[in-house]
């Protein structure tokens, strides 16, 4: 039984069946990639996992509990973090303040007002944020406005913000989209390191096959809202059904 169990999930947008009967199981501490052509329903599936969308049918179980019907912040507290396709960070705040916010967000979901404490007085939290920023090599940018960072740095900051919460499951929506090859390789290394060091399960949506084949332990191919195949990278390579989904029907 995997840490994330998706059973029979379906979602309709008007006349469009975005997802139809998706079954998927992500093993603990594995890296699971979900690939598929445009419009296959990858992002819709991810949105169903984090509470942004509620599927019409099926169930999503995380760590033995259903995530359906929970608000996004409750799902995050269960241990799911998500990195978005376009980095979602606090653009008006500095890099350091960006990092402080997930550090203040405790896992127990308790609401803390903290209205009359000062930030430097919260030593543990400040140190935690500084250590994380050092881990991702951003210590020299901590006073910059997050909005003025480069795209790659924004992505790195967002990933660090997710990681500092020590999630059990990290969802990555095209983490290398729009990156140069060198940056892509850096990101791959970073993710490999995270997976090895921190025992974080990852589910990755990706177009770049280079990334998929260097990271994933299992791959699910989605096409038109349904999973086509699920297998190891070796077997996916050159799988006739996958070729068909990506390149179109072979001429008879």
């Amino acid at each position: 039984m995997g840490i994330l169990e998706i059973k029979g999930v379906g979602k309709r947008f008007g006349g469009l069946q975005a997802l139809g009967d998706v079954n998927l199981s992500v093993e603990e501490n594995s890296v699971h990639a979900i690939i598929g052509p445009n419009g296959a329903g990858k992002s819709t599936l991810l949105n169903c996992l984090i509470g942004k969308l509620i599927p019409d049918t099926g169930s999503v179980m995380f760590d033995g509990q259903s995530v359906l019907g929970r608000a996004p912040h409750e799902i995050n507290q269960m241990g799911i973090s998500r990195v978005f396709q376009t980095p979602e960070i606090f653009g008006d705040l500095t890099v350091f303040e960006n990092m402080l916010i997930p550090c203040f967000a405790k896992r127990d979901g308790a609401y803390r007002l903290h209205a009359f404490e000062t930030i430097p007085a919260e030593k543990e939290i400040v140190e935690k944020a500084e250590a994380m920023l050092e881990d991702v090599n951003m210590q020299d940018k901590i006073h910059m406005h997050a909005a003025s960072l480069s795209r790659g740095d924004k992505r790195r900051l967002e990933m660090a913000m997710c990681l500092v919460q020590e999630p059990k499951l990290l969802l990555l929506d095209e983490p290398t989209a729009g990156m140069a090859r060198a940056d892509t390789n850096n990101t791959i290394d970073l993710l490999k390191e995270i997976n090895a060091k921190r025992d974080i399960t990852m589910a990755i949506i990706e177009h770049d096959m280079h990334v998929v084949f260097s990271l994933a332990e299992r791959i699910t191919v989605l096409a038109q809202g349904t999973p086509l195949v699920e297998d190891t990278p070796e077997n996916i390579k050159g799988h006739p059904k996958v070729m068909e989904a990506y390149l179109g029907q072979t001429q008879q």
């Binding site: 979602e88 350091f96 203040f104 896992r107 006073h143 406005h145």
Partner: protein
């Protein structure tokens, strides 16, 4: 000191000094001179500076930090005033019980309105708060007449119980025997300085209110509120529910408004429904934006600016204008006065509107941004930079011990 960083402590001390010296600063022209009409150092106006300063500081905690534009804050001002006057009617003219009740009732009222309105954001939130404020206004004006005394306004009558009123107690508002309307008038040279008890009472409360808001701005709570403004989606996906934070900000700013309303009634024991009108709600929005939303000092500046305009600029009538243009030949004088007239006196709203437009278009950061730009210009000219005390914009000063 006081849980503040050095820079903020300095800033707070400057604010305290300015506030305490206001009766002197606002009286720059000698009595009897032709410019004396621009003096603003009389008690009634100075009290308004302090009170509306508190109102705007509180509004800024909501609008400046979270970006939620409430268009119904005057409702809390009115609730505060009514509560205070009721305390005068029931207990005595001591203002303290009234102020405490004003803060409590406006807090409860804000909790109720905020709980419902904060289900929506953006323009829908503004409309909901506006609707609540107008409802409150109409209730106060007609339906709730037994409590609010309808269009006459609530005031203290001689047959009111006033249970705590001892023999020979003061019949004007006071704090433990110190009457609010008492003034010490000090003539120095041609100048006349008016040190008024009511003003200093308001000023001390305003300084406390300012200190509290400074602490909130620098606290983790303030950081969360700015996160709400910046990216609510990311906040939710970080495991934080933004609603309790915004609600807390809404209640705090409602309590500030209630306190301001209570002080208004403490200076003049009257409370009318028109205090809850949407124009009053709009005024605090204009004050905050004019001064600079999200800055600490901006709202206070904006409040002072508008109250000065309302009281001084509006007094420049035809006769004064004739005096100014009397050096011109008759025909031209009349011509000039006809052009200028709509902008002065009764027409001060027109000038204020134009000014507001200019600020919004050219200085989106308000008067604070204007001041900052001038400072930067001066700095560039003289390289020997003194300690810059103008960086109170929360975005520009990272909250880290450097």
């Amino acid at each position: 000191m006081l849980g503040l960083e050095n820079k903020d402590t300095k800033f707070l001390l400057v604010v305290v000094a300015l506030t305490l010296c206001t009766p002197i600063i606002l009286q720059p022209f000698p009595e009897g001179s032709s410019l004396a009409q621009f003096n603003a150092g009389y008690p009634d106006l100075m009290q308004r500076f302090a009170i509306f300063g508190i109102f705007a500081i509180g509004f800024n905690i909501l609008f400046g930090l979270t970006g939620y534009l409430s268009f119904g804050h005057a409702a809390f001002l009115g609730v505060g005033s009514y509560s205070t006057v009721w305390m005068f009617k029931l207990l005595s003219y001591n203002v303290l019980p009234g102020l405490v009740l004003a803060v409590i009732t406006s807090g409860i009222f804000a909790l109720f309105i905020g709980y419902i309105s904060l289900r929506r954001s953006g323009i829908y939130f503004s409309i909901l708060t506006l609707a609540f404020a107008q409802m409150s206004f109409n209730l106060a004006y007609s339906v709730l007449t037994p409590i609010t005394n309808g269009e006459t306004g609530l005031q203290v009558y001689t047959d009111d119980p006033q249970y705590l009123m001892g023999e020979g107690a003061l019949t004007t508002t006071h704090v433990f025997g110190l009457a609010m309307n008492k003034s010490l008038i000090v003539p120095i040279g041609g100048w006349e300085f008016n040190f008024n008890v009511g003003y200093y009472f308001c000023a001390i409360i305003a300084i406390l209110a300012f200190y509290l808001s400074l602490r909130i701005f620098r606290s983790p709570f303030g950081l969360m509120l700015r996160a709400v403004k910046s990216n609510q989606q990311r906040m939710n996906y970080t495991g934080l529910n933004s609603r309790p934070y915004t609600l807390a900000a809404f209640v705090i700013s409602g309590m500030y408004a209630g306190l301001a309303g209570g002080l208004l009634a403490s200076m003049d024991p009257l409370a009318g429904a028109e205090r809850m009108q949407w124009t009053a709600s709009g005024e605090v929005v204009i004050m905050t934006i004019l001064g600079g939303a999200g800055t600490l000092m901006g709202p206070v500046l904006g409040a002072g600016f508008i109250k000065y305009f309302e009281n001084i600029f509006s007094k420049i009538n035809d006769n004064v204008l004739h005096g100014w243009f009397s050096f011109l030949p008759d025909g031209i004088e009349d011509f000039f006065i006809n052009i200028v007239n709509p902008f002065f006196g009764e027409g001060w709203h027109l000038t204020l509107g134009l000014l507001f437009m200019c600020v919004v278009i050219f200085l989106p950061g308000g008067l604070m941004e204007g001041g900052q730009r001038i400072l930067n210009l001066l700095k560039r000219k003289s390289k020997d930079t003194a300690d810059d005390d103008s960086a109170h914009h929360p975005k520009q000063s990272p909250h880290v011990a450097e």
